[in-house]
Symmetry: C2
């Protein structure tokens, strides 16, 4: 095939991608045809010549990766799959229908989709994570390609990605920006000023290539050059027209996210030269290598702490992570420039080849974790619990991506003391509980922390560990077990008048309250709910029955959505679980409700009414009420 024939073939494929994007969205009655049409030429060339992907073996480690950062161009992606022969035309036309894998925005329900996109500004940061895996862990020559919209470069997360990608010299990363000039509601900020994009990209250390995104020769040249760059990532800034190829759509406003009606569709398809059913053979990777070995797994030797010693659970996290590093060579660690506070630094020192410093960029940190798990590594990413809120959209989307990531938030609650409210994680339990299929863990002691960390690495989904800044007494022996979904009844008798439920720092306040109340003749049960989600429903139900419904939940967290909410939920029915059928629940929530200030940890626990004093008072009020009620 000569050059002219090849250009013609690419053009035909591009037109097919456009036609199919229109056909699918018109049948669906919604979707983004025009956003799919602008980058069709780029994708036609990528798919025909440059992408190396073995559709017969999606687990081939040498496969290139392609991330559709502009997830709303899903019809284009699906049209590419059809062209590659892996979905049928019938599949294509199931777009956006219940039961179809072809959702409105791509998700990993489709086997060749690594991660969900659709929240803009996330694809590139995730691609950075995969490229880190390729260059530093797998050490395989595959490339990571990602197609961005121009509008999404407004998101700061894109610039976190630009920065970290050049910092880590990710020459295996190739980004393509589809500069079609039109956002959802009008012109983008930079319009067709591709030079502005290029200047910014270069300032952030990238190779930038400006092209006409509808000129197939320029596209081919840009891809060829990008593959030869070996000292930095490359961005191809492609000037395109939204709705390219159809006069009624091309470069016109008012067409974002709108499907064509039947008559419009007919005319558009005619203008594009009609339907085609070209199938192309996507090139398979030539490389036949396996990822390099990251060391031999040693038997797991978790740290053990003596009862009574004072050890912060964040310290135990660092120790356990170090141990896990020896036992599991696929564990990798990221931190956002606070590894000496989260104690990820010990792992960083022992296994620098598996540690990625993300600097102060929590969004990029979580995105990189999502990218690393695409290549089956087990990422643990840590920062202050308060600062994980910065990445909440990425965490939400990680769940849509069905990603397996472990996030660790230190410095939870008012008990951090003097630094003040900006540094206190007080909404993390609420935020992480409200993530689909998440696990939320909150240990109170160092031995417990170690056992829990060991279980995290193979736990699927978004797994969150909350750690405490302050040193707290070791109360469990190192041979106890702490299964996820369980709890520990720390104090109990057959005379318990109330149950106090705590976790983390408040468990220790509950134990102080236990001693004081016992001296006054009031016996309470104390339960350590280290597994906040899933929670140990049975033990809570038993306690409610045994202590006349008198439950007190005490937590270093806002009143809403945290431990107290988790306990209440254990007594509600759902469409899958029955209602608690015991007696009336008399539950008191002790939690932070006013904005904290600076102070010592003790002062702040007291001011927030979540210390032993507050627990003693709450128990007495319950027991007194009960006496009053029965007397």
């Amino acid at each position: 095939m000569n050059a002219q024939e090849q250009l013609h073939q690419w053009h035909e494929l591009a037109q097919q991608l456009r036609v199919d994007s229109i056909r699918a969205t018109t049948v669906a009655g919604s979707g983004h045809p025009t956003s799919s049409m602008s980058p069709a030429d780029l994708m036609a060339v990528l798919l025909s010549k440059y992408l190396r992907y073995d559709f017969d073996n999606l687990h081939n480690p040498n496969n290139d990766r392609f991330i559709l950062s502009k997830g709303h161009a899903a019809p284009l992606l699906y049209a590419m799959y059809k062209a590659a022969g892996v979905i049928s035309d019938e599949d294509l036309l199931s777009l956006r229908k219940l039961g179809s894998r072809l959702e409105g925005h791509p998700t990993p329900v489709i086997p060749w989709v690594d991660v969900a996109t659709g929240s803009l500004g996330q694809g590139l940061p995730i691609a950075v994570g995969i490229a880190l895996a390729g260059k530093y862990l797998d050490q395989l020559p595959y490339h990571v390609w990602t197609l961005l919209g121009d509008s999404e470069t407004s998101e700061g997360s894109i610039w976190e990605a630009f920065d970290r990608a050049s910092h880590y010299t990710l020459d295996n990363l190739i980004a393509i920006i589809d500069v079609n000039r039109l956002g959802q509601r009008g012109q983008t900020e930079l319009g067709w000023n591709t030079q502005a994009y290029a200047t910014r990209a270069r300032a952030f250390g990238w190779q930038a290539i400006e092209i006409d995104g509808h000129n197939l020769t320029e596209i081919e040249q840009a891809f060829s050059v990008a593959l030869t760059i070996n000292d930095r990532p490359t961005v191809i800034i492609a000037r395109t027209k939204k709705g390219k190829g159809v006069a009624a759509l091309e470069d016109l406003g008012g067409w974002h996210g709108k499907a064509l009606k039947a008559e419009q569709e007919k005319q558009a398809i005619a203008e594009l030269g009609g339907e085609r059913h070209i199938k192309i053979q996507v090139n398979k990777p030539e490389e036949q290598s396996q990822p390099v070995s990251l060391g031999k797994a040693q038997p797991l030797q978790l740290p053990a702490y003596d009862k009574g010693a004072k050890v912060a659970t964040r310290r135990a996290y660092g120790d356990a992570l170090l141990a896990l590093g020896a036992a599991q060579p696929d564990v990798v660690v990221l931190d956002a420039e606070v590894s000496n506070s989260t104690y990820a630094e010990d792992f960083a020192e022992a296994y620098p080849e598996r540690y990625f410093e993300m600097y102060i960029a929590e969004q990029q940190m979580v995105a990189a974790a999502v990218g690393l798990q695409v290549r089956k590594y087990k990422p643990f990413a840590s920062t202050f619990a308060a600062f994980l809120t910065r990445a909440y959209d990425f965490i939400r989307m990680a769940a849509v991506s069905r990603a397996n990531i472990k996030l660790v938030g230190s410095h939870a609650g008012v008990s951090i003391g003097q630094d003040g409210p900006s540094q206190m994680g007080l909404e993390d339990l609420a935020a992480f509980r409200a993530v689909c299929n998440s696990t939320v863990l909150y240990p109170s002691d160092a031995n417990q922390t170690a056992k829990i960390v060991a279980q995290m690495s193979d736990r699927p989904g978004v797994v969150y560990l909350r750690t405490t800044r302050e040193s707290t007494p070791v109360i469990y022996s190192s041979d106890e077990k702490f299964p996820i979904g369980g709890s520990k009844v720390v104090q109990s008798s057959d005379r318990d008048q109330a149950t106090v439920i705590g976790a983390g720092i408040t468990l220790h306040e509950a134990l102080k309250a236990y001693d004081r109340l016992k001296n006054e003749g009031i016996i309470i049960r104390v339960i350590d709910v280290y597994s906040v989600k899933p929670i140990d429903v049975q033990t809570l139900h038993q306690a409610a029955r045994d202590t006349k419904g008198n439950l007190i939940v005490v937590e270093d967290h806002w009143l809403e959505g945290g431990l107290g909410a988790a306990v209440l939920d254990a007594f509600a029915g759902t469409s899958n679980t029955p209602i608690y059928d015991g007696l009336q629940l008399r539950l008191i929530k002790l939690a932070v409700s006013d904005m904290p200030s600076s102070g010592t940890p003790e002062e702040l626990l007291h001011a927030a009414k979540i210390d032993a004093d507050a627990i003693v008072e709450a128990v007495k009020s319950q027991v007194k009420q009960l006496v009053g009620a029965s007397g």
Copy 2:
């Protein structure tokens, strides 16, 4: 005073700021002296000559604003206040103590602090908001100064701010980056490469000036030049040394966030020339103008909708916002490039001078809202509910700032249909409930929405409104009232066997279920909990008493932390509120628990088991259980 004398005076003041930063942190036993020492020369010159601030009248609209983006340098800020004569030395030494206004990171508990900082990367985006107010609303010549750390430029939000500031030609904005080379745990990514910072800033459209941050002459020149730039914002990139002036600290690692011990303090102070107690008179603004008028308030004429019409609550939001715009000239609106979906576009068209397009940058949008309310405007900021998660750290910090902002999230829940889970707001109620002193509103009908929007503008704190994509029937007449904290009992009788509690889209499912159950002889109460926080506790208690504890909460939200949790909380006690003393609660939560896909709204409500079918089934199971229990 000649130039030499002035330089000497500035040097003396800078040394005092250093000494006082050390003294305060040593007494406190914690804090960030070295981070306070690097920018001391910059701040000495700013305070002595360039800042225009009337400490006697902090409400003077012509005052410059100073935002300490690197909030951990709080001791430096407090030392500046001491030098300005507005706090005493005794105050200074109360740093980080319970009851002191001088918290570990600055908060507006201090009258001259406009916003809280301490979560890095937020000060500059907020400064953009204030500068927008200054240039476009107040139209006064004050300047907004902000001091950044170098580490925080890793946050993408900084680049959102750089971009939007130049887009809006904020020549009244002057940023200073304290490039002290050392982050919390070692060298920053760019070290002392001030040229890299300058290149990036210029690529984003700023004037960039590189200086030696310890050279008082260079500092003075840079500030002077910055004040003359009138076509773009200016950033001064100052190369400094962390811990400057004390050999044991200067440019050394391992000193981040560490107070000096008494002996170290003594030597450091000696090295800095001893304690000083210089007081300076900060220049007051020369300008005596008032902010320009943004129009005359018209009587509020809210939209009214006919009962039975089908209107989306997002549509009603847009209509009500437009009405509010006429009635309240201090209402301003922001959106993140989806104003044609949130319907903020109508306000934008009517009042372009009070509308700020933030493009796709939710962090910058929320930060700008916080900045605008510093100048007493009433910002409404909207995007898809799902994408407000992107700004969760900014929302959390807005509460620490005691900011009054209104946030509006559209496209809530699975009922958006075909676009799929990436676009569905399913964690917003949980996230916003867990914000200190927040208000969470979720109307079900257009007339209700209008009444609620009208109440939002004067409601203090973070106020969140959740709107629905789909059109739903108008069920309330336009003269009904919907006070925040209230609810509507939509169906009730003295024969109610169960209570179904919904809001937004699910209220309409509850009403369908009501009709179907009635046909089968089962009468239910239906409550519209449009005010999720605060919630109408009394009405819920009454319903529980009237319907034998049979409550069913149905919500288009994850199972955790949303409406169901809010209802459960109404039955729990806290340290301030007593336990519900009625009978046993038999509560069923119907909510989304599995990852949704694409589909029609009806299909997805059904698949999630939150439609009328699911409600009917749940009611029957409760009523049947009750029959079983009593029989």
